[in-house]
């Protein structure tokens, strides 16, 4: 009974996400200043600062939403359940009615897409920072 109800709720969620529009790609120009700062802070502090403010969390949530928007609803569901909620592949298969291999493939594909999008963002940010540094050095030299 519980599994059946979970599946109904999951499918309703999926239908709602499907009906919402999604962005095909995430670029640095889409990010707010706060999101940019969040990423820069995280990059500077690779060890991961556990002391975070509520505002900091909200920025992270918003950034995560933007990052997840590039995925299809099904891929997003698989990734958030497995990587976010620590659900097993079997549990996700039961919730959604998909086969276990389908769940694995979806999670793998989603992880790859998210990682690639993030890598692209970081690369653009890195280039921008280099450019700013070079401009600053030039102005100092003048």
């Amino acid at each position: 009974m519980e599994g059946w109800f979970t599946r109904i709720a999951t499918n309703t969620c999926l239908n709602l996400i499907r009906s919402a529009k999604r962005r095909p790609e995430l670029t640095v120009s889409d990010l707010s200043e706060a999101e940019n700062n969040w990423l820069e802070e995280k990059l500077a502090d690779a060890a991961g600062d556990l002391h975070r403010s509520v505002e900091h969390n909200l920025i992270a949530v918003d950034l995560a939403d933007r990052l997840l928007e590039i995925l299809s609803p099904e891929d997003r569901l698989a990734l958030t359940l497995i990587d976010g909620e620590d659900a097993s592949v079997k549990e996700v298969a039961e919730m959604t009615g998909w086969s276990e291999s389908k769940v694995k493939v979806r999670a793998f594909r989603a992880r790859k897409r998210v990682r690639e999008a993030m890598e692209k963002l970081l690369a653009t940010m890195g280039r921008r920072a280099d450019l700013q540094l070079a401009t600053a050095n030039e102005s100092k030299g003048d």
Partner: protein, 163 residues
């Protein structure tokens, strides 16, 4: 190490679920491989963001609850209907059409008169106005010219009948 370096390891499972040996392998590799270092950094940040997202509790709207309940009731109604009836509702039209077509074909093949049941040989003979004798003795010469096929049909059909 293969061309994909550590990418397969960091993409095959959540970073948090990697074993000690896998994490060691990744860390040692990223020290000497800049592209993998970037990939690992991006994977770590993505993992942090996804965790942050799911840690945030979302209160479902009443609208969502209504939709779930509606879907649940719909599912219950479907469950109550017998499987055969559901199958018939979806495939009934097709089955009916097939049955009617088969019945019509059967009726046509059994009820039509067998007037056109001549064999091909009989048809050929009936169609030809010449006898074998007249053809061999060439008696009809001068009237109308027979075609080569008509000559062959006339001779061989009569031979077959004799046998």
């Amino acid at each position: 190490m293969k061309d994909d370096h550590i990418i397969n390891i960091i993409e095959s499972a959540p970073l948090g679920s990697l074993s000690e040996s896998e994490i060691m392998l990744v860390r040692v590799h990223v020290e000497s491989c800049p592209s993998c270092r970037r990939a690992y950094q991006a994977a770590e940040l993505s993992a942090v963001l996804i965790k942050e997202r799911t840690a945030e509790a979302i209160e479902p709207s009443p609208f969502f609850q209504t939709r779930v309940m509606a879907a649940w009731r719909e599912q219950q109604v479907i469950e109550k209907v017998p499987a055969f009836w559901r199958l018939w509702k979806s495939a009934g039209a097709l089955v009916s059409t097939l049955t009617v077509t088969t019945a019509a074909l059967a009726a046509f093949s059994f009820l039509t008169p067998s007037s056109a049941s001549l064999t091909s040989q009989e048809t050929a003979v009936a169609a030809s106005p010449y006898s074998a004798e007249s053809v061999v003795l060439d008696r009809n010469q001068g009237e109308e010219q027979m075609s080569y096929d008509q000559v062959l049909n006339t001779i061989y059909v009569n031979d077959d009948e004799a046998r």
